[in-house]
Amino acid sequence: MHLSAVATDAEGYIFLKLTYECKLSKIRIKFRKACEKQKKKKKRIRKMVGRCRTRITAQLELKAPPYSLDALEPYMSRETLEYHWGKHHRGYVDNLNKQISGTDLDGLALEEIVVRSYNRGNPLPPSTMLPRSIWNHDFFWSSMKPGGGGQPRGVLLELIERDFGSLEGLLNEFKQAALTQFEKDNKLVVQKSPNAVNPLVWDYHPLLVVDVWEHAYYVDYQNRRPEFVSTFIEKLISWDAVSARLEEAIAQAAARAEEDERRREEEDGVMDDGDAIEMYLDTENESEAE
């Protein structure tokens, strides 16, 4: 609707323009040419509108990092970000859009696509690394910030001290994991607490990620991965983002727990009468009666 409004406006504008032009033939020819151009444009617009009406495709977008590309200097150079975000991440998004257009994964949110294409460990074609890579990279950009590093605060700090002993314990374990990661996957740090049991593919709620693919650090650090990981921890981590995610995770976990409770109560209540059992035995009649 929006697009066709533009078309009529343009038409109206051209019409108005005509009344003020003088009647020299040259101008008439110009007008005719302009009209034809506009007709073609309208045709194109109508085609697009028509397409929009028949098929709504929500293509995945490339989300930009929440800071400019040179904001993480000198720890992560602008060149790295230009390549890492501008070429690798963008490439993943474009390829995934190409692959899922027309399939039933089209139009879904990214998390949905990640979980569905993982298919509980039996990955479906097309390539399922792409949705996870895209998601991981989005997560990675928001795990960092200019002037990052420092200390976590509040609930996050408490949980870290509870599960890892101290911040140093967490960081050592994190570094160790990042340095011994041989396969090219991102390593997620999982809060070892029952409250953090929540989706993505392993049913955990990720809080922080560091990309240890070589393209993430090769331009700046070449093979010096330990230096990169240390710098990430000391100078780039956005503990605010981690805290925010932790709050989200806690809220989600609480909501889930509530729902489970509620469902359990319902089931308990239903199982007391005999109706529930009948519902499963005879599907069609019962459901119609319901």
């Binding site: 390549y83 070449q222 093979n223």
Partner: protein, 246 residues
Amino acid sequence: MVHAVLCFHYSFQNLKQKDQLRGSRRTSRIVAFYGLTAPPYELDALEPYMSQKTLEIHWGKHHRAYVDNLNKQLANSPLYGLTLDELVKVAYNNGNPLPEFNNAAQVWNHNFFWESMQPDGGYMPAAGLLQQIEKDFGSFPNFREKFITTAMSLFGSGWVWLVLKKEEKKLAVVGASNAVNPLVWGDIPIITLDMWEHSYYLDYRNDRGKYVNAFMDSLVSWQSATARMARAEAFVNLGEPKIPVA
């Protein structure tokens, strides 16, 4: 007096050490030690397709680190006295790799990789190898395309191999992730290309296509491939050569 005592003490210690050595020789372990083999050309010989800086870091830091780490691991491991090939196969443990596998396989792979390239490489193989490629892939351009496609479709880190399959008795292009190489399946590798990002990131950044094409056009060493093919034919019977009848 004191002097004498000291001397005695010293020689007693010596005896003790000798005893220890004698004793330990019976139960002594031979700790394997693998060395870092250098590429058979200067580090700037592959310019401009693979810069000297890349080779300095790829060979001088990555490959060297794999060797050093492997030696450190083997100091405390029962896997000693094996050649590198054997170590790779043993450490692969039929799909359940031991901790030494990654380092051992990467050392082997990189040795092979340096040999798979030469300055002024590329173009086409000659005679026997070319015939075999044409027989198994249809034509040389077909093979080239298959190699490039396999390399580009590898996700993450890995290696692309041209192998001679022992059972099927033909050449094939195989892609493998991380450090896996054809030795573990019992096939005979002929050439390889490193698709880990550290191999091309400095020269080509994310343009993998350009890197693979440069390898095929200007770096691959068909001479060493032919030599390996000749050696492989001692293990695999490829049938009678097609000698044209006059």
